[in-house]
Amino acid sequence: MTDLEQARVESLIDGELSWNELRNEVLPDPKDPDRFEKTRAVLQERVDWDDPILVPLNDHLYVVGTDEGRVIRTDCGEDLCDAGENWKRSCQVFVREDEDEFEELYEEYMHVDPDWAFELREWYCPECYQLLDVDAVPVGYPVLTPFEPDIDTFYEEWQGRPAPDREGDQAAD
């Protein structure tokens, strides 16, 4: 069973572990059961706000508990939307669809044929312009909500505790 110390979790998050360390110390099953909390603690330590991170969504995006409810926040502190909404609706977007735009990223012939009406949609934080996600879809494709986490089920039924933003509610009960 893997059982990473907190410092090793930090190294993992920072991409500092070698393949041998990953292969021999991190990848083997079963996984450390408290990895979620260890990871959450490292991430919480690194952001500039005190509101609790509830779910990390990607490198720069979190569901966070606030006094006004749960929101999706980028790590620069920008609140994009309520947790139940599609965060991409609050982003700045660049749609890449012609040959010149593709060839900023790919060689000639190694990208979409412009006749195919296919787009790369790049989603940026409206505050710091961190690239948060890239979609590769045909023109007209709806903007999917990639993940809707069931936060309370996770904390209450899988972790056996209330979500960090609901701990006070339970104490009041």
């Binding site: 990871t39 959450r40 749609v95 940026y124 890239v134």
Partner: protein
């Protein structure tokens, strides 16, 4: 009509020496028919949610050592059968790459254990056995000791048509105790063109030789008429014959091992063990999901463009098409997983139609590599996942008239989307090391065949025959997607087989006598960009020598669009393209010792600049239909890179430096995408980063982002206007039209998203 134990199970007696006595139906356990066993099992599962209604794993709990020993012994028998039997084969696909596997099923057709190899078949053979049970083969066709059955009909349980299964029922006394199944990937089964993953077939009648759950032998011997059909029905009869012997030998080895096991532990314990092993597989799947995923709903989509307007041979296929492969994955509070593909496009006039069983087989092969890799892999996992592959779509056509020759081109984009969904869960849960953004799609890059010229055939005494098939499996080493903590594996992964193997060029050239490999090189700029980049693909160059009547084609994705994206700001890898040169001066160059092409770099060093030719065809689409090739013609192909993870501006400078020095990316692309500026000494393969210029360039890129982007509202208005006008190409129109015809639910979601009237249709 039981047989004396000493006669049937005498360890000193080989199978061939035994008398295989006939058994009267019913042949199931305890006097039941197989249909009764199947019905009861399904009813218990429905009522309890547990396989065979097992509340507890008594054998595992009371005698765990014996239980684990039995499982290991069973799996060992399967692996042993595979490792031994593959040497019966002569095909490099089977012998060199190991494209075969063996599995064991309960009498009802539920997979219990699987060998190493192409484990995509953990579930597909199950469907074929259940078909035979439901068609009452027990009474009509007969299921007897020593019988041999065959299936490669995808509609009834298989992955693609050139995967051929051999089934052997295993009896103990007068009961059917289990089934053994061996499957190999054939290099050719006939069909309208040469090759094992055809591009041109559009219906069943063009697919080649089908065996539809057919009895092909009895008393452990194959029927003469079946063997004659195989010899006359395929282009490589020797491979067909030896692969069939390979499968049958392996199944008989497994039967021997099971008889020995039952002799030791007793038949009742063996039966209990089979059921417990499947239920344990179900429980393992649920516990793995709860251990690694996050409950909730995940949504992704895959796409597969088919640019056939000017390429297809049959009139009905001469159109551009795009297949839509959406997935919605739900993880519930119990650890249950649901995979829903509502909104998939209808089937079409192409070989990429994918039977439900093929989709399920692919689900297992992917789950075993992502979430179930240390568990007991069997149909228990199948029962732990609730799937919806909607009937009447490309992922479950329910129409045997269609071509099912190459369903992989539907499977790959689908499970790219599944990979992203699973990886979102792993990331959220803190298991960043398990994230895989996807993979380079391992298509059969080159296929076809030709004939040796008489003079050459005479000069090679051990040539396998005048006809040589082309089906190299080196495309099974593509780039793996990045994880959230490291780059993807370079040129070393295949989605369909966790034991990806490039194979030896020399081995393939022993079979493909006329197709000579000139070069293999890393293909720069195939890897998907990101903080962690995807694994790189590679490029190959072939020529033809000493041959005639040569036709070759390439089956390739991603071609004219991507199949999916990267994650967390990572990009998809480069798409493929094709170049072939006809009537070249290569023969003269080999004599005069002049240089000839070893790769193709679109910006510098194109093939056109390195060789003289009457015709050079360069196409943005990497896929082309069979065309004639002459000696010294050139043909280039490439494998694909995996998608990336994270914003490329977050990539550490030292990693970018390595990328350039290892030919993963070229300096111009690096400066544009990663904002890394420096000097590259190509001769010494040394890149020196200019740090101030890099800081300036990265800042410039951030400013460009602010200048170029638009708000969501602006994007929405522009895109909605295009939706209302149908401002897309005919391939995308095919996709939207088809989905609207197939799924009112998806159509309504589409209208709601774009705020369109109920009357809108594309």
């Amino acid at each position: 009509m039981s047989k004396p134990e000493s006669e049937l199970h005498d360890p000193g007696t080989t199978t061939r020496e035994r008398e295989l006595e006939k058994v009267d139906p019913p042949i199931g356990w305890d006097g039941q028919t197989l249909q009764e066993m199947l019905d009861e099992g399904e009813q218990r599962l429905e009522e309890t949610g547990r396989y065979q209604g097992l509340d507890e794993l008594e054998l595992k709990e009371n005698d765990p050592f014996k239980y684990e020993q039995m499982y290991s012994r069973l799996r060992g028998a399967l692996v042993s059968a595979r490792e031994t039997a593959l040497h019966v084969s002569a095909s490099p696909i089977v012998r060199e790459i190991g494209e075969l596997c063996f599995q064991i099923y309960t009498p009802e057709g539920d997979s219990v254990a699987v060998s190493t190899g192409i484990i995509v078949h953990v579930h597909t053979g199950s469907l074929a056995i259940k078909y035979m049970i439901e068609q009452d083969y027990e009474h009509n066709r007969g299921i007897q000791p020593g019988d041999v059955f065959c299936n490669n009909d995808n509609d009834l349980g298989n992955v693609h048509t050139t995967d051929v299964h051999t089934f052997v029922p295993i009896f103990y006394d007068d009961e059917l105790v289990a089934w053994a199944d061996g499957v190999t990937h054939e290099i050719d089964i006939g069909g309208m063109t040469r090759g094992h993953d055809q591009v041109a077939s559009t219906n069943r009648h063009e697919d080649g030789l089908y065996a539809t759950c057919e009895k092909i032998g009895e008393d452990d011997k194959l029927y003469q008429d079946w063997r004659d059909r195989g010899q006359r029905g395929v282009r490589t009869p020797m491979y067909w014959d030896l692969d069939e012997k390979c499968r049958l030998a392996g199944c008989h080895m497994i039967r021997e091992a099971i008889h020995e096991m039952i002799d030791e532990v007793g038949v009742e314990l063996f039966k209990d063990f089979l059921y417990e092993a499947v239920e344990e597989g179900r429980q393992i799947m649920e516990s793995r999901v709860k251990e690694r995923m996050f409950p909730g709903t995940y949504r992704e989509a895959g796409f597969h463009p088919i640019q056939w307007e000017d390429k297809a041979w049959q009139p009905g296929a001469q159109q551009n098409m795009m297949n839509h492969l959406p997935i919605e994955m739900t993880i519930d509070g119990e650890g249950g997983m649901e995979l829903d593909m509502e909104g998939a496009t209808p089937p079409g006039p192409h070989p990429f139609n994918c039977a439900k069983g093929s989709m399920e087989g692919a689900l297992w092969v992917y789950l075993t590599q992502s979430i179930l890799h240390d568990g007991k892999v069997n149909d228990g996992a199948h029962y732990a996942v609730d799937t919806n592959y909607p009937e009447g779509t490309v992922v479950n056509p329910q129409d045997p008239e269609l071509s099912y020759h190459t369903p992989w081109l539907t499977i790959f984009p689908t499970y790219l989307a599944v990979s992203r969904a699973l990886s979102s869960g792993f990331f959220s849960r803190g298991f960043r090391e398990e994230v895989v953004t996807g993979y380079g799609e391992p298509c059969d890059a080159l296929q076809g065949g030709g004939k040796l010229m008489d003079s050459l055939a005479d000069a090679i005494p051990d040539a396998l025959g005048d006809y040589w098939p082309v089906g190299p499996f080196d495309f099974s080493c593509q780039g793996l997607g990045a994880s959230a903590v490291r780059d993807g594996l370079d040129y070393g992964y295949a989605m369909f087989n966790p034991e990806a193997d490039l194979g030896d060029v020399e081995e393939w050239e022993q079979t493909q006598w006329g197709l000579i490999q000139l070069a293999r090189r890393v293909k720069p700029n195939t890897a998907g960009h990101g903080k962690y980049r995807g694994g790189s693909g590679w490029e190959g160059l072939h020529t033809i020598m000493g041959s005639e009547d040569v036709s070759l084609y390439a089956l390739s994705i991603p071609t004219v669009t991507w199949s999916g994206a990267g994650m967390s700001g990572g990009y998809p890898g480069g798409t493929s393209y094709s170049v072939r040169a006809h009537d070249t001066d290569l023969a003269r160059r080999t004599v005069t010792d002049e240089p000839y092409p070893l790769d193709d770099m679109p910006h510098h060093g194109r093939i056109e600049e390195q060789i003289e030719a009457e015709e050079i065809i360069r196409d943005q689409d990497g896929m082309f239909f069979p065309e004639q090739f002459e000696n010294y013609d050139l043909l280039r192909y490439q494998t694909s890179g995996g998608p990336g993870w994270g914003d490329p501006l977050d990539r550490p400078l030292e990693k970018v430096k390595e990328d350039i020095e290892e030919d993963i990316f070229t300096p111009d692309v690096v400066e544009e995408v990663y904002g890394v500026v420096g000097e590259y000494d190509a001769e010494n393969r040394e890149f020196t980063v200019d740090r101030p210029a890099t800081a300036e360039r990265r800042e410039e890129i951030r400013e460009e982002r602010a200048e170029r982007t638009q708000s969501f509202e602006e994007f929405f208005d522009e895109e909605r206007a295009r939706v209302r006008k149908g401002d897309w190409n005919d391939g995308v129109q095919y996709m939207y039209e088809g989905v609207f015809e197939t799924s009112e639910e998806w159509a309504q979601d589409f209208r709601e998203f774009w705020d369109l009237s109920d009357g809108y249709s594309p």
